[in-house]
């Protein structure tokens, strides 16, 4: 993966400053959702080869949650947005 990640708040920063949470594509179910919905969310994965969106936190920088769009097959990073901006643009 790229050694430098373009944080929307801090600019280009080393990748090691970021913590990767995992897929940003699964929608968190409502607290009272059925067991099946929670099972799907917690355990099941699409695990695609290609473009994915992930939640990253800039833990050694601004500590903001970000949404990083990258390719799981070739490690290209396409886009980094603040998580709030990414969610409001949908």
């Amino acid at each position: 993966m790229a050694s430098l990640i373009q944080c929307p708040h801090c600019g280009a920063r080393p990748k090691e400053e970021f913590s990767i949470k995992g897929s940003a594509e699964a929608e968190r179910p409502a607290p009272d959702a059925a067991e099946d919905a929670w099972f799907e969310y917690v355990y099941q994965r699409d695990n695609p080869i290609g473009r994915i969106e992930e939640y990253w936190q800039h833990t050694s920088g601004c500590r903001r949650w970000l949404v990083v769009e990258r390719d799981s097959g070739v490690h290209t990073v396409y886009r980094v947005l603040d998580a709030t901006a990414a969610r409001s643009s949908e």
Binding site: G22, V42, Y43, D46, N47, I49, S72, G73, V74
Partner: protein, 416 residues
């Protein structure tokens, strides 16, 4: 041909022109009783034990590249059964017992070397955990021995005993653990399976699955359609990908794990040692290279290469444990794709489809399990019932809440 000292002698007299390729390269037949998708160690072992133990002979193994090109030829070759949890210990112990008799069984030199596996401990808490693990192993009939600080020092004089932050307080050793020549495992199982008439189809990728309701009819491949009685998925690294062809979603993420080998050295490390204060494990191959590795990089990847940050982390852990490592040169590093399951434990089970079976989720520990995985998967496919030591490795354990969380580290792969 059965290999023996006599054959070596006889062929030497004949100018060594009598050796023949040890498996055929057949074209696929239109129909098989069992199609195994994935010609790695586990797929080949499954084919071998299906034919050798369970009398199922009309099998083909589909491999998208060549035999030994995947993780079976790219791992750190360690075998051990030092597991704590009930669902794991008997399974990995069966594997170790199979390793012990494997070369005689399939008549191929896999260079099984029981040189011992030492897990170092650095704190009182780690010592208690190691003793607990050792006791659990011994109650399952597995060998385990706790070494005090002096015993570790006598055995492994090259470790750093002056580290004030992480002093070496002892270690847990499994003397029956060790290393195996990994390529020979693939070749031995392939040769063994081929001798029973199993078709190993190399350079043939599965591209789709043809379904009729809840049954698998056959598989589409780059060499045409193949009808099958049963389809056995065995493509760790790409399990999600092949399962998706059958319309199945798995509790698995694919992550990259890096490994390293140094330049060849004179005999230096005669066992397998793991660091307790960082994730680092090392052994020395028979060619002299130090073979070592650490943690997964921690992000989803199918790219078969990792990040420099992880390389640096592994080297730091290694040098903290063995200061002399700072003076050796690394010859090669590589990355492989791991099927990371959500609890760190593999899956060998039936699926919601009638004649589809899944063997997946080996995380970074699939190599040591190769024979038992093949044996238990073959048992499941042949008898439609799980082998007694693999009953916890179910696909539906996540939904039902029966996780086998050996590391106890959390519910997502980059935590364990």
């Amino acid at each position: 041909m059965r290999y023996s000292a006599f054959q070596i002698f006889k062929n030497a007299l004949g100018g060594n022109t009598g050796w023949k390729p040890v498996w055929r390269e057949p074209e696929p037949k239109p129909k098989y009783d069992v199609v195994i998708a994935g010609g790695g160690g586990h797929g080949l072992a499954t084919a071998y034990y299906l034919a050798h133990e369970f009398g199922v002979r009309n099998i083909c193994v589909l491999e998208k590249s060549y035999i030994g090109s995947g993780n079976v030829g790219r791992n750190t070759t360690i075998i051990r059964s030092n597991y704590l949890l009930e669902g794991n210990t008997p399974f990995y112990e069966l594997s170790l017992k199979l390793w012990e008799g494997l070369e005689q069984d399939f008549n191929f030199n896999a260079m099984v070397s029981q040189r011992g596996v030492v897990n170092l401990v650095h704190t009182d808490g780690q010592r208690d955990a190691a003793r607990r693990r050792g006791n659990a192993m011994r109650m399952h009939g597995v060998d385990a021995e706790y070494l005090d600080a002096q015993a570790v020092r006598d055995m492994l004089p090259f470790l750093d005993y002056r580290n004030a932050r992480f002093p070496i307080k002892g270690g847990l050793i499994q003397r029956r653990g060790g290393t195996v020549r990994h390529d020979a495992v693939a070749w031995g199982f392939a040769r063994g399976a081929d001798s029973y008439g199993v078709d190993i189809i190399q350079n043939c990728a599965m591209t789709g699955v043809r379904r009729d309701g809840n049954r698998i009819v056959g598989v589409e491949t780059s060499k045409g359609f193949i009808e099958c009685g049963k389809l056995a998925l065995c493509a760790a690294g790409h399990s999600s990908h092949v399962a998706e062809m059958a319309g199945l979603k798995l509790p698995i993420e694919s992550h990259v794990l890096q490994a390293f080998v140094s330049e060849g050295l004179k005999p230096f490390i005669d066992t397998v040692v793991t660091y307790g204060a960082g994730h680092f494990y090392i052994s020395q191959s028979d060619k002299g290279g130090l073979v070592f590795g650490g943690d997964i990089d921690g992000y989803n990847s199918y790219a078969r290469r990792g990040n420099l940050a992880t390389v640096e982390h592994v080297m730091e852990a290694g040098v903290a444990m063995i200061p002399a490592l700072s003076r050796i040169k690394v010859l090669r590093s590589w990355g492989g794709i791991m099927d990371m399951s959500m609890d760190g434990t593999p899956i060998i089970d039936k699926t919601p489809l009638d004649n589809l079976y899944v063997n997946a989720g080996w995380c970074y520990g699939g190599f040591k399990a190769t024979p038992a995985s093949g044996w238990c998967y073959a048992h499941l496919i042949a008898k439609d019932a799980p082998h007694p030591v693999a009953t916890r490795l179910r696909l539906d354990r996540f939904r039902r809440g029966y996780l086998v969380d050996e590391r106890g580290a959390g519910a997502q792969p980059n935590l364990h």
